[in-house]
């Protein structure tokens, strides 16, 4: 597949529209739609995992020109034989400087014995189905977790930033979704979140963290201070008004 990618690069015309401008994107899958449009799925890393994954779509007409104004949507589905379910999604939007449609999917479980993941990318009403291999999170990490809240709701908290944590102050961003039904997981926009980081093997936290606040579409931004490398557990307390929805939603990081 890499060879095919190289050949397609080599054969491209001087109109360099077939490669995304950010060449560090990794091609995940590619298909041609029934209308002859080449739909390519890109990501920032080789493996898609049980986490919030940034996904990009590039669209090329059969003549090679880029499609900049299509309506693109994601529909991830986990087929577990007995039943199917979807996952939290951030629908793609076109980003002109990258010439890509940028969106995200939180895959809540790995591919395997339990079932298989597909991602249906619908372009102007035309669906293209990709079969995806979702890997388990690396050991000692947990970037997305689901909880049953005190209101009976089924919540997902996923880490958006930092994806490459550093020592010291990091921007922290999480995405919170709620299950509406098996196929819809809309973002939750009305929570107050308290962040308490901890090193489980030391039992200590860190000072100067900033609780994430809602910035739109279920995204909450704050700051986390990592005083050293190692295993970190981020404890999130989710509240709606005065009601505590979730006392301790914990995600694990290792760097």
């Amino acid at each position: 597949m890499l060879l095919a990618a190289l050949l397609s690069f080599a054969s491209c015309s001087k109109n360099n529209d077939n490669a995304p401008t950010q060449t560090e994107k990794i091609r995940i899958a590619e298909k041609t739609s029934s209308t002859g449009m080449l739909v390519t799925l890109w990501a920032d890393k080789q493996d898609l995992t049980v986490a919030w994954n940034q996904l990009y779509v590039s669209l090329r007409n059969s003549d090679g020109s880029i499609v900049t104004n299509a309506k693109v949507s994601f529909a991830p589905v986990m087929d577990m034989t007995a039943m199917k379910h979807s996952a939290p999604v951030e629908q793609p939007l076109y980003t002109p400087d990258k010439e890509l449609y940028k969106g995200a999917v939180v895959f809540s479980m790995p591919s395997g014995q339990m079932g298989a993941w597909t991602l249906t990318v619908t372009v102007d009403g035309e669906p293209v189905i990709f079969a995806l291999d979702i890997k388990a999170a690396p050991a000692n990490t947990k970037s997305t977790a689901t909880f049953t809240g005190s209101d009976g709701g089924y919540y997902t908290v996923s880490l958006v930033q930092p994806l490459t944590p550093r020592m010291g102050m990091n921007d922290l961003e999480v995405l919170v979704n709620r299950r509406q039904d098996m196929m819809n997981f809309p973002p939750v926009e009305d929570l107050a979140i308290e962040l308490i980081p901890e090193m489980p093997s030391m039992g200590h936290g860190s000072p100067n963290n900033v609780n994430p606040i809602h910035t739109g579409k279920g995204r909450y931004r704050g700051k986390v201070n990592f005083t050293m490398t190692g295993d970190w557990r981020l404890h999130f307390k989710l509240k709606r008004g005065n009601m505590v929805i979730m006392e301790d939603a914990a995600l694990d990081l290792l760097f």
Binding site: G205, S206, T229, G230
Partner: protein, 670 residues
């Protein structure tokens, strides 16, 4: 042991003795300077001390100096303090070279890298204005390394020595070789010493107090004819497997490499002396908890640390005339520290953090002093030092780690001024009087500015640095007088220091500790004020018939602006000695007493009281002339004859000092 005296003025610089007939250290212009010479006898009668002190650790020599107390963390490497001012508050230099320890727990003060075998003399200055070593509140200590000297007819000489101590089964071997000719001379020396755990009184073994080290140094001088002398020196000191009973970890190695190159020039009349020197040193230090029983080690950790310094100075000594003597010095250095901790939990991934995240200090100074003599009796010495200090964090990853604790720019700059005025008056041949006022000032040390959860064993708190810390400054008043006649010599000092912006730790609420078991987290802050006062009294009586009686006494008392006792202040200490000299034999009996230290603050500084202690030591030394060899010297001693169980106030964790110890030293000089 070693006998020292206090000199106050240098009236006639060109001669090697002052007008009262006292030997003066050459090429120094410091007022209130004390010179201790392990290798040279200060008083003609006490020749044996050279022998014993060649093998005695530098720490012991310093302990006998008035005003100097040693903070002890184990059997090895004690940290000197001058009138209980320590660390960044005083300077410590080796031949004028700035050297900084690498260990965050201060297990490696630079005195630990110097052996009496390397030493020519140790000079202590109590005056921050006159101290050419650098800026500080209380002066500084300069370790002068042994220097070869030229000789008309070429000659080889040397020494070999061995020693043994019953307490800890300590052994040492040393050797040295000197060559001197008219235009080239060098000296090389080396020592190896080793000790097992020592025993306190009653045979109680103090675990983790072993050590093993070797040390070697070499220096070469080459005459360039009329244009001067070129001198190169190198010292390497390596300690391995060093135990620290007062701490939860030991030292797996402490290595120092210290090199210097100087150009010296003196004019024909000896009225101008000029030294220009460039130097480099690097210290590599690693702490080690693998020898401790696993149940005492909460979590295994690696704690390496390094300190590298390079610098230079140019010092000009001008004896313009008998009334006027000036000294000008420019100096500069750069010191980089790096220390980190990697922790290995039983479950989970290793955790890494910097404890000193690559801070770097760049420093430049100008020092001027002038000694004005009025007539034969009066001398006025004025000194001033202007220094520019710039600190920064030099590594990107280190900056990132600190970004979570210290917002904003981490660079610091200070301009520091020190000055002093001292008046010396010699009413007659017997008396010498001196009064001085000084202003001392120092920037906060790199550790005080940038520490990252460094555990302080004294109060069991983790300490955070404070990049916004102001430096400390003090106004020092002191008066001294000395009297001397054929039989008696007596001298006394009194001092009072008023300190502003005293640096201490203040509790940070809501911060979780890094060290398991720590009481909490403190950050360095400036307290508005602190006071220090005290004095030293030395007395010597040549009773006749070869009998000499000496008494050295020191006292310090310190409190902060709230009246709470400052930490690590030594109580009244008195060292009383009776020497009996007969021909080539010397006998000595001495008693060292420390009174109780009850002036402590447990609540603020974590200190507790210390009981009084007295120990008795006895030594006998004899010199033999053996045909082809120059001399054979043998020394026998008993330390702590009565096997007293004791510890001193500055012994961290109050670990007991050694019990009875029989010592044997032998050296052959050829």
């Amino acid at each position: 042991m070693v006998i020292c005296w206090l000199t106050f003025t240098t009236i006639s610089y060109a001669q090697p003795v002052d007008s009262a007939g006292r030997d003066l250290p050459s090429r120094t212009l410091l007022l209130n300077e004390v010179a201790i010479r392990p290798g040279r006898d200060i008083y003609e009668e006490a020749k044996d001390t050279r022998q014993k002190s060649l093998q005695e650790m530098t720490d012991k020599i310093l302990e006998y100096t008035p005003g100097i107390s040693m903070i002890r963390r184990g059997n090895f490497a004690m940290e000197p303090t001058i009138r209980s001012l320590n660390s960044g508050q005083i300077t410590m230099t080796i031949d004028g070279m700035r050297v900084f320890g690498a260990c965050t727990d201060k297990m490696d003060p630079i005195s630990s890298y110097v052996e009496p075998n390397n030493l020519e003399s140790i000079s202590v200055s109590y005056d921050p204005g006159a101290n050419t070593g650098g800026s500080g509140l209380g002066g500084g200590i300069n370790f002068r390394l042994k220097e070869p000297s030229f000789r008309e007819t070429p000659k080889w000489s040397g020494r070999i020595g061995t020693g043994f101590e019953t307490n800890g089964a300590a052994v040492q071997t040393l050797g040295g070789l000197d060559y001197a000719s008219a235009d080239l001379a060098f000296q090389i020396n080396g020592i190896f010493r080793r000790s097992a755990n020592y025993k306190a009184a009653g045979g109680k073994e103090i675990g983790f107090s072993q050590y093993r080290k070797w040390n070697g140094s070499a220096s070469v001088i080459r005459s360039l004819g009329r244009t001067g002398i070129l001198k190169a020196s190198y010292l390497q000191d390596e300690g391995h497997d060093i135990g620290y009973p007062a701490l939860t970890m030991d030292v797996s190695f402490a290595k120092a490499k210290i090199a210097g190159l100087s150009y010296l020039y003196s004019n024909q009349q000896e009225s101008i002396h000029w030294e220009t020197k460039a130097y480099y040193n690097s210290i590599d230090h690693a702490m080690d908890d693998t020898n401790r029983p696993p149940e005492t080690v909460n979590m295994h950790m690696d704690m390496p640390g390094t300190s590298t310094t390079f610098g230079g100075f140019s010092a000009l000594d001008l004896h313009l005339n008998d009334q006027h003597h000036m000294k000008i010095k420019v100096d500069g250095y750069q010191n980089k520290l790096l220390s980190s901790m990697t922790m290995y939990p039983t479950e989970g991934s290793p955790m890494f953090m910097y404890t000193l995240a690559a801070p770097v200090r760049r420093n430049m100074g100008l020092h001027v002093s002038d000694v004005l003599s009025f007539g034969k009796r009066t001398m006025l010495t004025s000194s001033a030092r202007l220094e520019y200090n710039h600190d920064d964090v030099s590594d990107k990853k280190a900056k990132e780690q600190l970004s979570g604790m210290f917002p904003g720019d981490l660079t610091r700059s200070n301009v520091i001024t020190n000055f002093s005025i001292a008046l010396g008056f010699q009413p007659d041949a017997h008396w010498l009087l001196n009064a001085s006022v000084a202003r001392g000032s120092r920037a906060a040390s790199l550790q005080e500015a940038y520490a990252f959860y460094i555990y302080n064993r004294l109060d069991a708190y983790d300490y955070l640095g404070n990049p916004a810390l102001s430096g400390e400054s003090s106004v020092n008043f002191s008066i001294s007088s000395s009297y001397r006649n054929e039989k008696i010599e007596a001298s006394g000092n009194l001092f009072r220091y008023f300190i502003q912006d005293y640096i201490a730790g203040a509790i940070l609420k809501g911060y979780s500790t890094m060290t398991i078991g720590a009481n909490g987290v403190k950050q360095y802050v400036n307290l508005p004020s602190a006071k220090l006062y005290g004095g030293e009294l030395a007395f010597k009586w040549k009773a006749g018939g070869g009998l000499v009686i000496t008494s050295l006494n020191s006292f310090t008392r310190g409190s902060d602006g709230d009246g709470l006792a400052l930490p690590l202040i030594a109580p009244l200490k008195t060292v009383n000695t009776i020497d009996y000299n007969l021909d080539k034999t010397i006998l000595r009996i001495e008693g060292i007493t420390n009174t109780t230290q009850k002036h402590v603050s447990t609540q603020r500084y974590g200190e507790t009281a210390t009981p009084a202690s007295t120990i008795l030591n006895f030594y006998i030394g004899k010199e033999f002339k053996v045909s082809s060899l120059q001399a054979l010297k043998i020394n026998l001693g008993i330390d702590n004859i009565l096997d007293e169980y004791y510890f001193q106030h500055l012994d961290i964790q109050k670990v007991a000092r050694p019990g009875r110890n029989l010592t044997y030293r032998m050296a052959v000089l050829f």
